[in-house]
Protein backbone atom coordinates (compact mmCIF):
# COMPACT_ATOMS: atom_id res chain seq x y z
CA UNK A 1 0.00 0.00 0.00
CA UNK A 2 2.96 2.31 -0.38
CA UNK A 3 2.04 3.34 -3.89
CA UNK A 4 1.42 6.97 -4.73
CA UNK A 5 1.61 8.14 -1.15
CA UNK A 6 3.19 11.31 -2.35
CA UNK A 7 2.24 12.79 -5.65
CA UNK A 8 3.52 15.97 -7.19
CA UNK A 9 2.22 17.14 -10.54
CA UNK A 10 3.32 20.32 -12.16
CA UNK A 11 3.02 22.23 -15.38
CA UNK A 12 5.67 22.14 -18.05
CA UNK A 13 9.08 23.20 -16.87
CA UNK A 14 11.20 22.74 -19.93
CA UNK A 15 12.38 19.74 -21.93
CA UNK A 16 14.76 18.41 -19.31
CA UNK A 17 12.01 18.30 -16.73
CA UNK A 18 9.74 16.42 -19.12
CA UNK A 19 12.45 13.82 -19.64
CA UNK A 20 12.85 13.48 -15.89
CA UNK A 21 9.12 12.95 -15.48
CA UNK A 22 9.12 10.36 -18.23
CA UNK A 23 11.98 8.58 -16.46
CA UNK A 24 10.02 8.71 -13.25
CA UNK A 25 7.10 7.06 -15.01
CA UNK A 26 9.43 4.34 -16.26
CA UNK A 27 10.88 3.80 -12.79
CA UNK A 28 7.44 3.64 -11.20
CA UNK A 29 6.37 1.05 -13.73
CA UNK A 30 9.41 -1.08 -12.96
CA UNK A 31 8.72 -0.87 -9.24
CA UNK A 32 5.26 -2.25 -9.93
CA UNK A 33 6.27 -4.59 -12.71
CA UNK A 34 4.21 -7.33 -11.06
CA UNK A 35 1.09 -5.29 -11.80
CA UNK A 36 1.88 -5.32 -15.53
CA UNK A 37 2.43 -9.04 -15.25
CA UNK A 38 -0.92 -9.55 -13.47
CA UNK A 39 -2.72 -7.52 -16.13
CA UNK A 40 -1.05 -9.46 -18.94
CA UNK A 41 -1.84 -12.76 -17.31
CA UNK A 42 -5.42 -11.67 -16.80
CA UNK A 43 -5.65 -10.79 -20.52
CA UNK A 44 -4.47 -14.21 -21.60
CA UNK A 45 -6.67 -16.08 -19.16
CA UNK A 46 -9.77 -14.08 -19.98
CA UNK A 47 -9.25 -14.48 -23.71
CA UNK A 48 -9.58 -18.23 -23.39
CA UNK A 49 -12.15 -18.39 -20.66
CA UNK A 50 -14.95 -20.79 -21.44
CA UNK A 51 -12.84 -22.84 -23.79
CA UNK A 52 -11.91 -26.34 -22.69
CA UNK A 53 -8.30 -26.31 -23.80
CA UNK A 54 -7.79 -22.72 -22.80
CA UNK A 55 -4.51 -21.09 -23.78
CA UNK A 56 -3.42 -24.40 -25.30
CA UNK A 57 -5.39 -23.27 -28.33
CA UNK A 58 -2.56 -20.85 -29.00
CA UNK A 59 -0.27 -23.83 -29.24
CA UNK A 60 -2.63 -25.98 -31.26
CA UNK A 61 -3.50 -23.41 -33.88
CA UNK A 62 0.16 -22.61 -34.24
CA UNK A 63 1.00 -26.30 -34.60
CA UNK A 64 -1.58 -26.78 -37.32
CA UNK A 65 -0.29 -23.76 -39.19
CA UNK A 66 3.31 -24.90 -38.93
CA UNK A 67 2.49 -28.37 -40.18
CA UNK A 68 0.35 -27.14 -43.04
CA UNK A 69 2.76 -24.54 -44.29
CA UNK A 70 5.80 -26.69 -43.61
CA UNK A 71 4.50 -29.64 -45.61
CA UNK A 72 2.97 -27.72 -48.50
CA UNK A 73 5.58 -25.04 -48.98
CA UNK A 74 8.38 -27.52 -48.51
CA UNK A 75 7.02 -29.14 -51.67
CA UNK A 76 6.61 -25.82 -53.45
CA UNK A 77 10.16 -24.76 -52.74
CA UNK A 78 11.46 -28.29 -53.27
CA UNK A 79 13.37 -28.35 -50.02
CA UNK A 80 13.40 -31.32 -47.73
CA UNK A 81 10.67 -31.28 -45.13
CA UNK A 82 13.32 -32.23 -42.65
CA UNK A 83 14.98 -28.85 -42.97
CA UNK A 84 11.96 -26.82 -43.82
CA UNK A 85 9.55 -27.60 -40.99
CA UNK A 86 11.93 -26.46 -38.22
CA UNK A 87 12.70 -23.37 -40.27
CA UNK A 88 9.06 -22.46 -40.73
CA UNK A 89 8.09 -23.37 -37.19
CA UNK A 90 10.73 -21.14 -35.63
CA UNK A 91 9.99 -18.45 -38.18
CA UNK A 92 6.26 -18.30 -37.52
CA UNK A 93 6.63 -18.45 -33.76
CA UNK A 94 9.20 -15.69 -33.35
CA UNK A 95 7.94 -13.51 -36.16
CA UNK A 96 4.50 -13.83 -34.60
CA UNK A 97 5.86 -12.54 -31.31
CA UNK A 98 7.31 -9.47 -32.98
CA UNK A 99 4.24 -8.60 -35.03
CA UNK A 100 1.88 -9.50 -32.18
CA UNK A 101 3.66 -7.11 -29.85
CA UNK A 102 3.55 -4.35 -32.44
CA UNK A 103 -0.03 -4.91 -33.61
CA UNK A 104 -1.40 -5.14 -30.09
CA UNK A 105 0.64 -2.09 -29.20
CA UNK A 106 -1.89 -0.03 -31.13
CA UNK A 107 -4.45 -0.81 -28.42
CA UNK A 108 -2.17 -0.37 -25.43
CA UNK A 109 -3.35 3.06 -24.32
CA UNK A 110 -6.72 3.05 -26.05
CA UNK A 111 -7.71 -0.04 -24.11
CA UNK A 112 -6.44 1.43 -20.85
CA UNK A 113 -8.37 4.69 -21.26
CA UNK A 114 -10.58 4.01 -18.23
CA UNK A 115 -7.67 3.37 -15.91
CA UNK A 116 -5.50 6.15 -17.24
CA UNK A 117 -8.21 8.75 -16.71
CA UNK A 118 -8.69 8.18 -13.00
CA UNK A 119 -5.52 6.72 -11.54
CA UNK A 120 -1.90 7.72 -11.37
CA UNK A 121 -0.68 4.39 -12.73
CA UNK A 122 2.49 4.73 -14.78
CA UNK A 123 1.91 4.66 -18.52
CA UNK A 124 4.79 2.28 -19.03
CA UNK A 125 2.84 -0.30 -17.04
CA UNK A 126 0.51 -0.72 -20.00
CA UNK A 127 3.38 -1.01 -22.44
CA UNK A 128 4.83 -3.85 -20.38
CA UNK A 129 1.39 -5.39 -20.19
CA UNK A 130 1.29 -5.74 -23.97
CA UNK A 131 4.86 -7.03 -24.10
CA UNK A 132 4.27 -9.55 -21.32
CA UNK A 133 1.06 -10.75 -22.88
CA UNK A 134 2.95 -11.61 -26.03
CA UNK A 135 5.72 -13.26 -24.07
CA UNK A 136 3.14 -15.43 -22.33
CA UNK A 137 1.81 -16.41 -25.75
CA UNK A 138 5.37 -17.13 -26.84
CA UNK A 139 5.69 -19.39 -23.80
CA UNK A 140 2.86 -21.49 -25.18
CA UNK A 141 4.42 -21.59 -28.62
CA UNK A 142 7.67 -22.84 -27.17
CA UNK A 143 5.97 -26.23 -26.89
CA UNK A 144 5.90 -26.30 -30.70
CA UNK A 145 9.46 -25.11 -30.92
CA UNK A 146 10.63 -27.84 -28.57
CA UNK A 147 8.61 -30.53 -30.32
CA UNK A 148 10.06 -29.56 -33.68
CA UNK A 149 13.61 -29.28 -32.38
CA UNK A 150 13.41 -32.69 -30.75
CA UNK A 151 11.60 -34.43 -33.58
CA UNK A 152 13.92 -33.15 -36.28
CA UNK A 153 16.99 -33.56 -34.15
CA UNK A 154 18.35 -30.03 -34.21
CA UNK A 155 18.11 -29.71 -30.42
CA UNK A 156 21.58 -31.24 -30.29
CA UNK A 157 23.20 -28.60 -32.45
CA UNK A 158 21.18 -25.62 -31.21
CA UNK A 159 23.08 -22.88 -29.41
CA UNK A 160 20.71 -21.88 -26.62
CA UNK A 161 22.68 -19.06 -24.97
CA UNK A 162 23.08 -17.29 -28.30
CA UNK A 163 19.40 -17.80 -29.04
CA UNK A 164 18.50 -16.36 -25.63
CA UNK A 165 20.63 -13.33 -26.38
CA UNK A 166 18.84 -12.99 -29.71
CA UNK A 167 15.53 -13.15 -27.90
CA UNK A 168 16.57 -10.29 -25.66
CA UNK A 169 17.38 -8.20 -28.73
CA UNK A 170 14.05 -9.19 -30.21
CA UNK A 171 12.07 -8.16 -27.12
CA UNK A 172 14.00 -4.92 -26.68
CA UNK A 173 13.18 -3.86 -30.21
CA UNK A 174 9.62 -5.13 -30.29
CA UNK A 175 8.95 -3.22 -27.07
CA UNK A 176 9.91 0.20 -28.40
CA UNK A 177 8.03 -0.41 -31.63
CA UNK A 178 5.01 -1.40 -29.57
CA UNK A 179 5.22 1.74 -27.44
CA UNK A 180 5.76 3.98 -30.45
CA UNK A 181 2.64 2.73 -32.19
CA UNK A 182 0.77 2.88 -28.87
CA UNK A 183 1.38 6.61 -28.54
CA UNK A 184 0.74 7.42 -32.18
CA UNK A 185 -2.37 5.23 -32.35
CA UNK A 186 -3.85 7.01 -29.37
CA UNK A 187 -3.58 10.26 -31.26
CA UNK A 188 -4.42 9.17 -34.79
CA UNK A 189 -6.97 6.46 -35.27
CA UNK A 190 -5.70 5.51 -38.74
CA UNK A 191 -2.45 4.21 -37.40
CA UNK A 192 -3.61 0.71 -36.38
CA UNK A 193 -4.62 0.00 -39.98
CA UNK A 194 -1.32 1.31 -41.29
CA UNK A 195 0.61 -0.72 -38.75
CA UNK A 196 -1.26 -3.85 -39.69
CA UNK A 197 -0.58 -3.32 -43.37
CA UNK A 198 3.09 -2.88 -42.62
CA UNK A 199 3.38 -6.00 -40.50
CA UNK A 200 1.48 -7.96 -43.12
CA UNK A 201 3.81 -6.75 -45.83
CA UNK A 202 6.73 -7.60 -43.58
CA UNK A 203 5.48 -11.17 -43.24
CA UNK A 204 5.77 -11.54 -47.00
CA UNK A 205 9.02 -9.62 -47.45
CA UNK A 206 10.78 -11.42 -44.63
CA UNK A 207 11.99 -15.00 -44.96
CA UNK A 208 9.45 -16.43 -42.56
CA UNK A 209 7.90 -18.85 -45.00
CA UNK A 210 10.60 -18.93 -47.67
CA UNK A 211 14.26 -19.83 -47.40
CA UNK A 212 16.50 -16.75 -47.58
CA UNK A 213 18.97 -18.48 -49.88
CA UNK A 214 16.31 -18.57 -52.60
CA UNK A 215 16.62 -14.86 -53.15
CA UNK A 216 19.04 -13.76 -55.92
CA UNK A 217 22.19 -12.05 -54.64
CA UNK A 218 21.33 -8.73 -56.25
CA UNK A 219 18.18 -8.50 -54.13
CA UNK A 220 20.06 -9.12 -50.95
CA UNK A 221 19.30 -5.64 -49.71
CA UNK A 222 15.76 -6.88 -49.01
CA UNK A 223 17.33 -8.99 -46.31
CA UNK A 224 20.13 -6.72 -45.16
CA UNK A 225 17.92 -3.69 -44.62
CA UNK A 226 14.95 -5.61 -43.27
CA UNK A 227 14.80 -5.18 -39.49
CA UNK A 228 12.39 -8.09 -39.20
CA UNK A 229 14.88 -10.36 -40.91
CA UNK A 230 17.58 -9.49 -38.41
CA UNK A 231 15.18 -9.85 -35.47
CA UNK A 232 14.17 -13.27 -36.70
CA UNK A 233 17.66 -14.35 -37.65
CA UNK A 234 19.07 -13.55 -34.21
CA UNK A 235 16.82 -16.17 -32.64
CA UNK A 236 16.15 -18.65 -35.41
CA UNK A 237 19.65 -19.24 -36.71
CA UNK A 238 21.21 -20.31 -33.39
CA UNK A 239 18.27 -22.61 -32.67
CA UNK A 240 18.88 -24.28 -36.03
CA UNK A 241 22.53 -24.67 -35.18
CA UNK A 242 23.63 -21.93 -37.57
CA UNK A 243 25.77 -18.90 -36.89
CA UNK A 244 24.53 -15.33 -36.76
CA UNK A 245 26.30 -12.68 -38.82
CA UNK A 246 27.94 -10.02 -36.61
CA UNK A 247 26.28 -7.25 -38.56
CA UNK A 248 22.91 -8.60 -37.44
CA UNK A 249 23.81 -7.79 -33.85
CA UNK A 250 25.18 -4.44 -34.88
CA UNK A 251 21.96 -3.70 -36.71
CA UNK A 252 19.76 -4.80 -33.79
CA UNK A 253 21.77 -2.95 -31.17
CA UNK A 254 21.70 0.23 -33.25
CA UNK A 255 18.01 -0.19 -33.88
CA UNK A 256 17.32 -0.62 -30.16
CA UNK A 257 19.32 2.46 -29.18
CA UNK A 258 17.91 4.73 -31.88
CA UNK A 259 14.41 3.32 -31.47
CA UNK A 260 14.28 3.76 -27.72
CA UNK A 261 15.74 7.24 -27.94
CA UNK A 262 13.09 8.19 -30.47
CA UNK A 263 10.23 6.56 -28.60
CA UNK A 264 11.31 7.89 -25.25
CA UNK A 265 11.62 11.45 -26.45
CA UNK A 266 8.21 11.18 -28.09
CA UNK A 267 6.85 9.86 -24.81
CA UNK A 268 8.48 12.65 -22.83
CA UNK A 269 6.83 15.16 -25.15
CA UNK A 270 3.36 13.64 -25.24
CA UNK A 271 3.14 12.02 -21.80
CA UNK A 272 0.83 14.61 -20.30
CA UNK A 273 -1.32 14.69 -23.42
CA UNK A 274 -1.86 10.99 -24.00
CA UNK A 275 -4.73 10.75 -21.54
CA UNK A 276 -6.52 13.53 -23.45
CA UNK A 277 -6.05 11.76 -26.77
CA UNK A 278 -8.13 8.85 -25.57
Amino acid sequence: MDTATHMLRTGRRGALFEVQMALRDLRASLQRIDLAWSLAWHDVVSRYRGSILGPLWITISMGVMVLGIGLLWGEVFRVSVHDFIPFVALGIVFFGTVTGTINEGCDTFVQAAGMLSQTSLPMFTFVWRTVFRNLINLGHHLVIVLAVLVYFGSWRTANYPVAAMGLIFLVLNAAWLSMLVAIVSARFRDIPQIVQSITQAAAIMTPVFWPPDRIPARYHLILDLNPFYHLLQAVRAPLMGLGVAPHTYLFLAGMAVVGWALTFSLFANTRRRIVHYL
Binding site: T5, H6, S38, R49, G50, M115, S120, R271
Partner: protein, 249 residues
Protein backbone atom coordinates in the same frame (compact mmCIF):
# COMPACT_ATOMS: atom_id res chain seq x y z
CA UNK B 1 9.20 6.47 10.55
CA UNK B 2 6.20 8.68 10.58
CA UNK B 3 4.58 9.57 7.31
CA UNK B 4 3.94 13.25 6.67
CA UNK B 5 0.36 14.26 7.41
CA UNK B 6 -2.27 13.83 4.76
CA UNK B 7 -2.72 16.92 2.66
CA UNK B 8 -3.74 18.29 -0.69
CA UNK B 9 -2.22 21.43 -2.08
CA UNK B 10 -2.99 23.00 -5.45
CA UNK B 11 -1.27 26.17 -6.49
CA UNK B 12 -2.34 28.21 -9.50
CA UNK B 13 -3.60 25.04 -11.06
CA UNK B 14 -4.56 25.54 -14.67
CA UNK B 15 -5.71 22.68 -16.81
CA UNK B 16 -6.51 22.94 -20.48
CA UNK B 17 -8.13 20.31 -22.61
CA UNK B 18 -7.09 20.00 -26.15
CA UNK B 19 -10.22 18.87 -27.94
CA UNK B 20 -9.42 16.27 -30.52
CA UNK B 21 -12.59 16.01 -32.55
CA UNK B 22 -13.50 12.67 -33.97
CA UNK B 23 -12.32 13.59 -37.42
CA UNK B 24 -9.38 15.64 -36.26
CA UNK B 25 -8.01 12.34 -35.00
CA UNK B 26 -7.65 11.09 -38.53
CA UNK B 27 -4.20 11.36 -39.98
CA UNK B 28 -5.60 12.49 -43.31
CA UNK B 29 -7.06 15.60 -41.75
CA UNK B 30 -3.83 16.28 -40.01
CA UNK B 31 -1.83 15.94 -43.19
CA UNK B 32 -4.42 17.93 -45.10
CA UNK B 33 -4.03 20.66 -42.53
CA UNK B 34 -0.33 20.80 -43.17
CA UNK B 35 -0.56 20.74 -46.94
CA UNK B 36 -3.27 23.35 -47.29
CA UNK B 37 -1.56 25.47 -44.70
CA UNK B 38 -3.22 28.82 -44.22
CA UNK B 39 -6.69 27.84 -45.25
CA UNK B 40 -7.49 25.88 -42.16
CA UNK B 41 -5.06 27.66 -39.93
CA UNK B 42 -7.76 29.30 -37.89
CA UNK B 43 -9.02 25.93 -36.77
CA UNK B 44 -5.50 24.91 -35.94
CA UNK B 45 -4.85 24.98 -32.22
CA UNK B 46 -8.04 26.90 -31.57
CA UNK B 47 -9.78 23.97 -29.98
CA UNK B 48 -8.51 24.21 -26.47
CA UNK B 49 -10.83 24.40 -23.50
CA UNK B 50 -9.67 25.78 -20.21
CA UNK B 51 -11.21 23.41 -17.71
CA UNK B 52 -9.62 24.83 -14.60
CA UNK B 53 -7.91 28.15 -14.24
CA UNK B 54 -5.70 29.41 -11.46
CA UNK B 55 -7.20 27.20 -8.86
CA UNK B 56 -5.76 27.33 -5.36
CA UNK B 57 -6.72 24.76 -2.80
CA UNK B 58 -5.28 23.71 0.53
CA UNK B 59 -6.77 20.77 2.38
CA UNK B 60 -5.50 18.96 5.44
CA UNK B 61 -6.54 15.94 7.46
CA UNK B 62 -10.14 16.18 8.60
CA UNK B 63 -11.29 18.30 5.70
CA UNK B 64 -14.41 17.12 3.91
CA UNK B 65 -14.73 19.28 0.85
CA UNK B 66 -17.88 19.44 -1.20
CA UNK B 67 -17.60 20.59 -4.80
CA UNK B 68 -20.61 22.29 -6.31
CA UNK B 69 -21.13 23.75 -9.73
CA UNK B 70 -23.04 23.26 -12.94
CA UNK B 71 -22.35 20.51 -15.38
CA UNK B 72 -19.08 21.17 -17.11
CA UNK B 73 -17.85 23.54 -14.43
CA UNK B 74 -14.74 21.46 -13.87
CA UNK B 75 -15.69 19.34 -10.85
CA UNK B 76 -14.78 16.01 -12.40
CA UNK B 77 -11.70 17.48 -14.03
CA UNK B 78 -10.48 18.63 -10.65
CA UNK B 79 -11.10 15.18 -9.20
CA UNK B 80 -9.23 13.55 -12.06
CA UNK B 81 -6.37 15.97 -11.62
CA UNK B 82 -6.24 15.19 -7.90
CA UNK B 83 -6.20 11.48 -8.71
CA UNK B 84 -3.05 12.05 -10.73
CA UNK B 85 -4.54 11.19 -14.09
CA UNK B 86 -4.50 14.69 -15.56
CA UNK B 87 -1.33 16.68 -15.54
CA UNK B 88 -1.64 20.39 -14.91
CA UNK B 89 -0.65 22.78 -17.67
CA UNK B 90 0.41 25.36 -15.15
CA UNK B 91 0.82 25.35 -11.42
CA UNK B 92 1.26 22.38 -9.14
CA UNK B 93 -0.75 19.69 -7.41
CA UNK B 94 0.75 18.03 -4.40
CA UNK B 95 -0.97 15.21 -2.59
CA UNK B 96 0.32 13.45 0.51
CA UNK B 97 -1.33 10.15 1.20
CA UNK B 98 -2.76 7.23 -0.66
CA UNK B 99 -5.44 8.36 -3.09
CA UNK B 100 -8.52 6.39 -3.98
CA UNK B 101 -10.78 7.76 -6.68
CA UNK B 102 -14.32 6.44 -6.86
CA UNK B 103 -15.08 8.22 -10.10
CA UNK B 104 -16.10 5.35 -12.28
CA UNK B 105 -17.14 2.22 -10.45
CA UNK B 106 -16.63 0.14 -13.55
CA UNK B 107 -12.93 0.87 -13.66
CA UNK B 108 -11.20 -2.28 -14.75
CA UNK B 109 -14.31 -4.42 -14.65
CA UNK B 110 -13.95 -7.10 -17.28
CA UNK B 111 -17.35 -8.55 -18.17
CA UNK B 112 -15.95 -11.84 -19.40
CA UNK B 113 -14.02 -12.52 -16.20
CA UNK B 114 -15.57 -13.98 -13.08
CA UNK B 115 -16.53 -11.91 -10.07
CA UNK B 116 -13.54 -13.19 -8.12
CA UNK B 117 -11.12 -12.34 -10.92
CA UNK B 118 -12.59 -8.87 -11.17
CA UNK B 119 -12.12 -8.26 -7.47
CA UNK B 120 -8.50 -9.39 -7.82
CA UNK B 121 -7.93 -7.18 -10.84
CA UNK B 122 -9.43 -4.17 -9.18
CA UNK B 123 -7.38 -4.77 -6.06
CA UNK B 124 -4.18 -5.06 -8.08
CA UNK B 125 -4.90 -1.78 -9.80
CA UNK B 126 -5.52 -0.14 -6.44
CA UNK B 127 -2.07 -1.22 -5.35
CA UNK B 128 -2.75 -4.29 -3.26
CA UNK B 129 -0.50 -7.32 -3.50
CA UNK B 130 -1.97 -10.69 -4.37
CA UNK B 131 -1.56 -11.72 -0.75
CA UNK B 132 -3.43 -8.71 0.58
CA UNK B 133 -6.22 -9.37 -1.88
CA UNK B 134 -6.50 -12.98 -0.79
CA UNK B 135 -6.82 -11.78 2.79
CA UNK B 136 -9.61 -9.38 1.93
CA UNK B 137 -11.39 -11.57 -0.57
CA UNK B 138 -13.75 -13.29 1.91
CA UNK B 139 -14.82 -9.95 3.34
CA UNK B 140 -15.40 -8.41 -0.09
CA UNK B 141 -17.26 -11.49 -1.25
CA UNK B 142 -19.50 -11.48 1.78
CA UNK B 143 -20.18 -7.80 1.47
CA UNK B 144 -21.15 -8.09 -2.17
CA UNK B 145 -23.73 -10.68 -1.17
CA UNK B 146 -23.27 -12.38 -4.52
CA UNK B 147 -22.35 -15.78 -3.09
CA UNK B 148 -21.93 -18.46 -5.72
CA UNK B 149 -22.35 -15.93 -8.51
CA UNK B 150 -18.83 -14.67 -7.85
CA UNK B 151 -17.50 -17.72 -9.65
CA UNK B 152 -19.48 -16.83 -12.76
CA UNK B 153 -18.57 -14.32 -15.47
CA UNK B 154 -19.73 -10.80 -14.72
CA UNK B 155 -21.61 -10.60 -18.02
CA UNK B 156 -24.15 -13.05 -16.60
CA UNK B 157 -24.96 -10.60 -13.79
CA UNK B 158 -27.92 -8.29 -13.73
CA UNK B 159 -27.13 -4.58 -13.72
CA UNK B 160 -27.77 -4.41 -10.00
CA UNK B 161 -25.49 -7.34 -9.29
CA UNK B 162 -22.77 -5.79 -11.39
CA UNK B 163 -23.11 -2.59 -9.42
CA UNK B 164 -22.83 -4.55 -6.17
CA UNK B 165 -19.66 -6.23 -7.31
CA UNK B 166 -18.11 -3.03 -8.56
CA UNK B 167 -19.02 -1.24 -5.37
CA UNK B 168 -17.71 -3.98 -3.10
CA UNK B 169 -14.43 -4.17 -4.99
CA UNK B 170 -13.93 -0.44 -5.29
CA UNK B 171 -14.55 0.28 -1.63
CA UNK B 172 -12.38 -2.52 -0.29
CA UNK B 173 -9.28 -0.36 -0.31
CA UNK B 174 -9.00 2.25 2.38
CA UNK B 175 -7.32 5.47 1.48
CA UNK B 176 -6.04 8.65 3.00
CA UNK B 177 -7.61 10.76 0.32
CA UNK B 178 -10.97 9.77 -1.03
CA UNK B 179 -12.23 11.35 -4.24
CA UNK B 180 -15.85 10.83 -5.19
CA UNK B 181 -17.90 11.98 -8.09
CA UNK B 182 -21.46 11.92 -6.78
CA UNK B 183 -22.35 9.78 -3.83
CA UNK B 184 -22.62 6.31 -5.16
CA UNK B 185 -25.97 4.75 -4.38
CA UNK B 186 -26.29 1.38 -6.00
CA UNK B 187 -28.36 -1.75 -5.87
CA UNK B 188 -31.69 -2.44 -4.22
CA UNK B 189 -32.92 -0.76 -1.06
CA UNK B 190 -31.24 -3.28 1.24
CA UNK B 191 -27.93 -2.96 -0.45
CA UNK B 192 -28.13 0.80 -0.56
CA UNK B 193 -28.40 0.84 3.20
CA UNK B 194 -25.29 -1.27 3.79
CA UNK B 195 -23.48 0.46 0.93
CA UNK B 196 -24.17 3.72 2.63
CA UNK B 197 -22.74 2.49 5.92
CA UNK B 198 -19.65 1.18 4.18
CA UNK B 199 -19.03 4.46 2.44
CA UNK B 200 -19.43 6.30 5.70
CA UNK B 201 -16.82 4.09 7.29
CA UNK B 202 -14.52 4.70 4.37
CA UNK B 203 -15.03 8.43 4.68
CA UNK B 204 -14.34 8.30 8.41
CA UNK B 205 -11.09 6.47 7.87
CA UNK B 206 -9.96 8.72 5.08
CA UNK B 207 -8.09 11.84 6.09
CA UNK B 208 -9.60 13.93 3.34
CA UNK B 209 -12.77 13.61 1.33
CA UNK B 210 -13.47 15.51 -1.84
CA UNK B 211 -17.01 14.94 -3.02
CA UNK B 212 -18.54 16.46 -6.11
CA UNK B 213 -22.31 16.50 -5.97
CA UNK B 214 -25.43 18.35 -6.97
CA UNK B 215 -27.25 17.11 -3.91
CA UNK B 216 -27.24 19.91 -1.37
CA UNK B 217 -28.58 17.76 1.47
CA UNK B 218 -25.88 15.19 0.88
CA UNK B 219 -23.17 17.81 0.96
CA UNK B 220 -24.53 19.19 4.22
CA UNK B 221 -24.47 15.70 5.67
CA UNK B 222 -20.92 14.74 4.79
CA UNK B 223 -18.91 17.84 4.16
CA UNK B 224 -17.58 20.53 6.44
CA UNK B 225 -16.31 22.77 3.68
CA UNK B 226 -17.52 23.66 0.27
CA UNK B 227 -16.13 25.17 -2.89
CA UNK B 228 -17.97 26.31 -5.96
CA UNK B 229 -16.65 25.93 -9.47
CA UNK B 230 -17.92 28.12 -12.26
CA UNK B 231 -16.47 27.66 -15.71
CA UNK B 232 -13.23 26.37 -14.26
CA UNK B 233 -12.87 29.22 -11.80
CA UNK B 234 -13.06 28.27 -8.16
CA UNK B 235 -14.59 30.24 -5.35
CA UNK B 236 -12.84 30.40 -1.99
CA UNK B 237 -13.27 27.40 0.27
CA UNK B 238 -15.92 28.27 2.82
CA UNK B 239 -17.51 26.43 5.74
CA UNK B 240 -20.51 24.34 4.81
CA UNK B 241 -22.89 26.62 6.71
CA UNK B 242 -22.38 29.19 3.97
CA UNK B 243 -23.57 26.78 1.31
CA UNK B 244 -26.77 28.71 0.62
CA UNK B 245 -25.00 32.01 0.08
CA UNK B 246 -22.47 30.26 -2.11
CA UNK B 247 -25.14 28.67 -4.27
CA UNK B 248 -27.00 31.95 -4.58
CA UNK B 249 -23.89 33.91 -5.50
Amino acid sequence: MKAPPVSISCQDLTLRFPVYGVDAKSLKKHLAKITVGGKLARSHGATEVTALSNLNLELKAGDRLGLVGHNGSGKTTLLRALSGAYEPDEGTIEVQGHVAALLDLNLGIDPTATGFDNIRLRGRIAGLSSKEIDQRLPEIAEFSGLGAFLAMPVKTYSAGMQARLAFAAATAVEADVLLMDEWIAVGDADFQKIAHRRLLKLVERAGILVLASHDVELLRLYCNKVMRLEGGVASAVTPIKNLDELMAA
